[in-house]
Structures are given as structure tokens and as C-alpha cells.
């Protein structure tokens, strides 16, 4: 990645100021509220699904996480496939992108999109275009945290 903040000439800075006046500002507070409520709603559905699995099947709280996540991703797949997850995303922003359904949507939309290039190079090669960084940095972060925890336990701090 090159240097993001390239030096701007005075003319460029002047233009930037002029342009800022006309740039439609994002309604941050409204967006935050919308994201909060939609995200909360998705999580409520997840909790309901969890309870459903605990009540009707032989899952404990510990083990119900797996089928719940699978169901949520299945629902995300249906919504992405039918074409309305992106409308929800436009409305809610982070509220639909952060929960596991957002991750599912990222992978599934990329898979759908690249079907035209074949299964191996198209779908297989491009499926993790968006989610790849999530997986990579998530695993790496988990490794670092586990390492720190191990060291702290070894030295008796925890």
C-alpha cells in the first residue's frame, strides 16, 4: 500500500474545501440508530433459533451455537440469493454486515457473482474475495491472543 496521505498542493487543498461544501454528508447518527436496531433484531432472531434448538432438540447452551450459526447462515444465503440482503444492507449498514449473516452474505454473494467463470477458478478462486481478510486476520488475532494468555498464565499473572 502506497502512502495514503500524499502531499496536496495549495490548489488541491482549496478545491477540497470547495468540494466539501457540496458533498452530501452521511447521516451518521441516523445510520448508527438504524444499524443498532437492525443488528439487534438479527441477534434476537439468532437467540430465538438457539432456544428453538435447545427446546426441541438435544443441544445444551454450549452446543447449540453450531446449529444456530448454521441456520443463520442458511437464512443469509436465502436472502442473498433472493436479492434482498443488499437492500437491508443499504438500509442498515453495519447492522447487517457485522453479525454472522453479514459474513455469510459476503461469501455467498461473491460465489454467486463468479459462477460465470466456472466452479474452480471462478467460484472457488473468488469466493473469499471479501471474507478472506476476515478469516486471515481473525485466525491470526486469535493466535496472538492465545499466545499472550499462555504467557501470562505461565508467568502467573492470570
Amino acid at each position: 500500500m502506497g502512502n495514503k496521505k500524499q502531499k496536496k498542493t495549495p490548489e488541491q487543498q482549496q478545491y477540497e474545501q470547495l468540494q466539501q461544501k457540496h458533498e452530501t454528508k452521511r447521516p451518521i447518527f441516523k445510520n448508527c440508530l438504524k444499524a443498532f436496531f437492525v443488528g439487534g433484531f438479527i441477534c434476537t432472531i439468532g437467540q430465538a433459533i438457539s432456544y428453538f434448538y435447545i427446546y426441541f432438540f438435544n443441544f445444551t447452551e454450549q452446543t447449540a451455537g453450531n446449529p444456530t450459526v448454521a441456520t443463520m447462515i442458511f437464512l443469509a444465503m436465502l436472502m442473498t440469493g433472493f436479492g434482498f440482503y443488499d437492500r437491508i444492507g443499504q438500509f442498515a449498514g453495519a447492522g447487517s454486515a457485522v453479525p454472522i449473516t453479514g459474513f455469510g452474505n459476503a461469501v455467498i454473494s461473491a460465489a454467486i457473482e463468479h459462477r460465470t467463470e466456472g466452479f474452480v477458478l471462478g467460484v472457488g478462486g473468488n469466493m473469499f474475495k471479501l471474507a478472506g481478510s476476515v478469516i486471515l486476520f481473525g485466525v491470526f488475532a486469535a493466535f496472538v491472543v492465545a499466545l499472550i494468555k499462555t504467557l501470562l498464565i505461565m508467568w502467573g499473572v492470570i
Binding site: M1, Q12, L18, D86, N105, I112, T116, K129
Partner: protein, 336 residues
């Protein structure tokens, strides 16, 4: 003839004898639906990929223009066109079907006017008798290449623009103007202007300086006042870019009449369509000019217009590498 620093005057008045305009579902629900020759109700157009669908759009536009212009492909000397997709493959593949000697062009969203300027030059100086020129874009194919997969739920900011799906092709010919058809009179080629903006979701703001620069150069080279034109139309600045360019021009001493300064991206869609700031794309300026605006001219509503197509010359890679967005604008004046 060269006038001023970067402009041409076409003394022979090359005529735009016919046009072919095809569009997609969004455009069918938009403001200018009646000015399209062919409209599709989904983005696939019976093909199995979006890029192939874009090729179909171009082929249909070429077929339509040759039909309306009553001309066979043997009589057309050159096809000069482009689009936004990598290596301009949809246009090249359409050229394969058309079997006309082909110039592939890339000017991002300013391709339409770049093509019209070159086509007019060729016809004016007897380099060709008939030239087909045009540009196209496809929303899904462009989103896939430049941004995110089409079904991805990412939120677009209010400054983002919607890439138009459509192709506009015109037949520029040297036949004398017996039937009151529009003709091109001059063109100004723009240079690349970069004001250091980096947000790919705010193309309007990035392209406005290029439009301002080309309009200023055009008026200076041809020694004209803005009021010389009934209408000055930009290609795809949309809401944010249009306000910015009006402000920028005024700051530099050129006051435009906002009622006679329009933008193709704003004209294309209705208020209730979710296009954020407005339309954009290489096809946007082509479909609005070669469809709606020329029809308006034929009805007598406008006699002299200046079309300034603006383009952002970035790629997904350049953006990731931290580069800012350089832009360009080309202007062509049309009279009837």
C-alpha cells in the same frame, strides 16, 4: 481545424444521421424510457454472464442505428467505441460481430464524447464517409469489476452513483443535411486533471474539476460566452458533482445559468429510484445524448448544445495502492 489550444472546429458539419440506444431495467423505469429504442427487463438479457449481456446491448444498438440510418455495414468505414470493462472486451466482441474496422477506445465515462469528437474529425477531413461511434456500460458488470459483488450488503454513501446499463451508438456521416438532422460543430479534448480526491464513492466530486477545466478551455478556444449554448450538459457528475462544478466555474469567473446546465446522470432516473447521487457510467452520457437530447433537438427545443462527458480514470488496483482519482472531460458541441 485546430482552434485555440485544444479544440477543433468541424467546418463541414458532420451529420449525426441516426442513433441506436438500448437500455436495461432501471432505465426502463426511469425518466427517459420513451427515448430508448430497445429496453430489457432484466440484467442478463438472455445471456449467462453480465459481460456477455453488455455485448448484446452494444450489438443491438449497432444494429438499430444501421437500420434507422438505412445503411449496410459495408458502407461504414470505422467503428470507434469503448466501455468500462477490463480490456474493453464487450465492445471488442461486438465489433467482431459487426465486422467493421474498429478503433477500441478507453476514456472511462468520457468515452462517448471522445468517440464523437474523433468520428467527427475523421468525417470532416474526408478520412471516412460513415463512422459509427458509441459507448456502453452495464451496472452489474461494472460493480463486479470495480466494487463489490452485486448482492453484497455493503452500504453505499449518499455521494455514490449508479452505473447506467445501456449502449448508445451514433452514425456520423458526411451526407449533406437535407432533412434537418443534428450535426457536430466543434470539440474540445480535455487533459487529465487530478485534485487529489481519493474516495471512489464520490466520483462527482473528483470529476468536477476536469469538467470545469474543459468547459473553460472550450469557451476560451472558441471565444464564446456560456449563453451561446441553449444547454450545457455534463455526462455523469450527478448531484454532488454538478453543484461543485457550478461553484467552481463561478469562483473562476464563469457564471452559468443553472437552468441551462444539466447533467445526464440526473436526467436519467426518477426521484424514487435508489440511485443515491445519480447515474454514471460510459453508457450514461451516450444513452441520454443519442436518445433524449437529440430527440429534443429534433423537436426544436434546443438548437445548440454542448455535451461535456466526464470520466474518472481509476482502477480498483490504483485505488488500493493509495492513488488519487485522475479525471478527464471531453466536450462536443452539436447544432441543428
Amino acid at each position: 481545424m485546430l482552434v485555440g489550444k485544444q479544440s477543433w472546429i468541424f467546418q463541414q458539419h458532420p451529420v449525426i444521421a441516426a442513433t441506436g440506444v438500448s437500455g436495461g431495467p432501471f432505465e426502463a423505469n426511469g425518466h427517459l424510457a420513451e427515448d430508448f429504442d430497445i429496453l430489457h427487463d432484466d440484467l442478463w438479457m438472455g445471456q449467462d454472464s453480465y459481460e456477455k449481456a453488455q455485448r448484446v446491448l452494444i450489438e443491438e444498438a449497432i444494429q438499430t442505428v444501421m437500420q434507422k440510418g438505412n445503411i449496410q455495414k459495408e458502407d461504414v468505414q470505422f467503428l470507434i467505441a469503448g466501455d468500462l470493462i477490463n480490456q474493453i472486451t464487450p465492445t471488442s466482441f461486438a465489433a467482431r460481430t459487426a465486422q467493421i474496422p474498429y478503433f477500441g477506445l478507453f476514456g472511462a465515462c468520457s468515452t462517448s464524447m471522445e468517440g464523437l469528437a474523433l468520428a467527427s474529425f475523421m468525417v470532416n477531413y474526408k478520412g471516412a464517409k460513415n463512422v459509427l461511434t458509441g459507448a456502453s456500460s452495464h451496472n452489474a458488470a461494472t460493480e463486479k469489476q470495480f466494487r463489490y459483488p452485486t448482492e453484497y450488503g455493503g452500504q453505499k454513501p449518499p455521494t455514490a452513483q449508479w452505473t447506467a446499463t445501456g449502449a448508445g451508438v451514433a452514425l456520423v456521416t458526411d451526407k449533406k443535411n437535407g432533412e434537418n438532422l443534428p450535426y457536430t460543430t466543434s470539440a474540445t479534448i480535455g487533459k487529465v486533471i487530478d485534485m487529489g480526491l481519493t474516495d471512489p464513492f464520490n466520483m462527482g466530486g473528483a470529476m468536477a474539476p476536469a469538467a470545469a477545466d474543459t468547459i473553460t478551455a472550450h469557451l476560451k478556444d472558441l471565444q464564446l460566452e456560456p449563453s451561446h449554448y441553449d444547454l450545457i450538459v455534463t455526462g455523469d457528475l450527478a448531484r454532488v458533482g454538478r453543484e461543485t462544478v457550478l461553484d467552481l466555474l463561478e469562483t473562476n469567473g464563469l457564471k452559468m445559468d443553472p437552468n441551462r446546465f444539466l447533467d445526464c446522470g440526473l436526467m436519467l432516473y426518477k426521484e424514487d429510484q435508489p440511485v443515491q447521487a445519480g447515474g454514471s457510467g460510459a453508457g450514461c452520457s451516450a444513452i441520454v445524448l443519442y436518445g433524449h437530447l437529440l430527440n429534443q433537438m429534433k423537436k426544436g427545443i434546443y438548437k445548440r448544445i454542448l455535451l461535456v462527458a466526464t470520466g474518472a480514470l481509476l482502477s480498483p488496483l490504483s485505488f488500493q495502492q493509495g492513488e488519487s482519482i485522475p479525471c478527464i472531460a471531453h466536450a462536443v458541441s452539436i447544432e441543428i
